[in-house]
Subunit: 339 residues, 2 copies
Amino acid sequence: MSNPNSATIEDVARLAEVSIATVSRAIHSPEKVAKSTRQKVNQAIAITGYTTNALARNLRLGRSNMILVIAPDIGDPNFSSILVGLENEARARGYGILIGHTQNDAQLGLEYLKFINSNQAAGLILFTGVLPYGHQDMVANLPPSVGVFEPVFNGGIPYVGVDDVAGARKAVDLLLSQGHRRIAFIGDARNRLASRRRRQGYSEGMDAAGVPESQRIILDGDGTVESGRLALEQLFMRDTLPTAMMCVNDLTAVGVITGLSARGYSVPADFSVTGFDDVPQAGFLSPPLTTIRQPRSAIGKKAMTLLFDLLANTEGAETEILLVPDLVVRESVGPPRPQ
Amino acid sequence: MSNPNSATIEDVARLAEVSIATVSRAIHSPEKVAKSTRQKVNQAIAITGYTTNALARNLRLGRSNMILVIAPDIGDPNFSSILVGLENEARARGYGILIGHTQNDAQLGLEYLKFINSNQAAGLILFTGVLPYGHQDMVANLPPSVGVFEPVFNGGIPYVGVDDVAGARKAVDLLLSQGHRRIAFIGDARNRLASRRRRQGYSEGMDAAGVPESQRIILDGDGTVESGRLALEQLFMRDTLPTAMMCVNDLTAVGVITGLSARGYSVPADFSVTGFDDVPQAGFLSPPLTTIRQPRSAIGKKAMTLLFDLLANTEGAETEILLVPDLVVRESVGPPRPQ
DNA sequence: TTGTATGCGTTATCAT
DNA sequence: ATGATAACGCATACAA
């Protein structure tokens, strides 16, 4: 063990002059042991500096006190903020969290699966795209699991995500309230579910405002800065330009804004732009980006809570929890330039 | 256990019609078992889907296959990039990584210490300020540990950090090469070691360039955006202004740049500014910040490598490894405005 | 209220 | 080359 001279329950028992069973009881069900004995035991624990060997305990109990969290990329700031919520919640319950990242490598995903089978994880938090498809048979063998952001295995696993529709609706409503009517939506063909939902929020907002289909423009990028720039080029090849661009995420918005200033336009004087996510850079762009903030820490907290519900009941908990994100108003939105 | 119906070594033995000892051998020292037996065992393993129960294995072996990484703040992007290096290196050796964060709460630090004593961690990676001071007696009971960024426990633990002197030297040399002579250094009174070293790099550069002491200005902030702004105000109360501000970190630089543009000055036309760290926002500021990039992933990799050296030898490995950071030239530095 | 004894799944020692 | 068995440290069923 890491600490070869650490005291065992036996050392404590010897010192307290009781049996190891009594020591164990004194720790886990103090009410079952006489007050005087309890005191002796506690004293012995203090003297020896005894701490339970979690390895042995978990083996005996047939469970682990670790939650494995697997994400595509640990380095992603998006991920690390969620991690905070996850960790706090887990620690509060005496669980530790183990992390892994797949770097979009299916092989790695499988490795973690093996890891899980080695009984080192009591539960699983799975981020988008983290498990290899085509292994749906493994669901049956998975410990209680919760997805983050998107359903895993076609909904076989409950998940906590963001209410993209409501978030997008906030963005489009802001634009509409500023007087915009011709609002372009630039989506992300890769991240299909989120993109579709955000686009739905856009459509619902436009519907509610009575903007005819003919004034709507919908493009698809792939969620990168570059694709934002590209989408902008496509926009400029059209007869009529929108007055605002609603982007599926912040990176796309960065591309759009960059492209716009390269063409000599100013945001928001000439065009308004919104993002989605509120990445760390968002507040430092010029202009600072008006966007929708992912409730990251809350997502982490909620996901872990849900996981513990699962761990407790074997019964069905909720299968989809959507958190409503907030609008962050900065400076990339203004009224449309009068024609 | 998480997977109640998972096969044990006994299931495999029964199916292969051998003893559990043979199964264990077939796995860990195949050369000691007859080829035909080996095949039977492998087949049985495949059929049962057996994976070693790491809990039992580690208990028996008296060690763990987890490395505990404790940082003040998991959410810090600075931290998460290092995590990538740590995780990759650990996984390559069959270790998992457990994370914890103290949020600068000494009590939490102690909790993790207890965790360590429960034999769940084979080794420790400690970030700056993560362990409560005044508990130096605990060093003796710690498993092999490596510090990141700064020495822990007054050097009792080897660490991997950044060569702040060399990094700062790169920044000041750039400034000097552009023709600046009156360069202010804005330090960080809180982060004393790093600040002192960066300041030393500044001084060495100024010495080498033959800039007299009288032309040097040294201020101390606390490493925040706000303190950068404050330092700037102090600067403007002086008789002679510097032509460049070398900041102890990027956040300070943000404050300086913000203050400068609030006063109507332009960077780098009127003043040049450098940062240190290369935070994610650095490239998105206006102007994009010229700074020193922390070799984060390399730090993580190196720290984990060092830890495994420690785990292998009990003998003394290196006690201080300093990685040299790179200069990232963006747009916040130019020649001084002709007077 | 307390103690004895068993087993969790491994690995390793010692026989055979 | 293989098997029987002890031990890792703990929690609990059962006995006292």
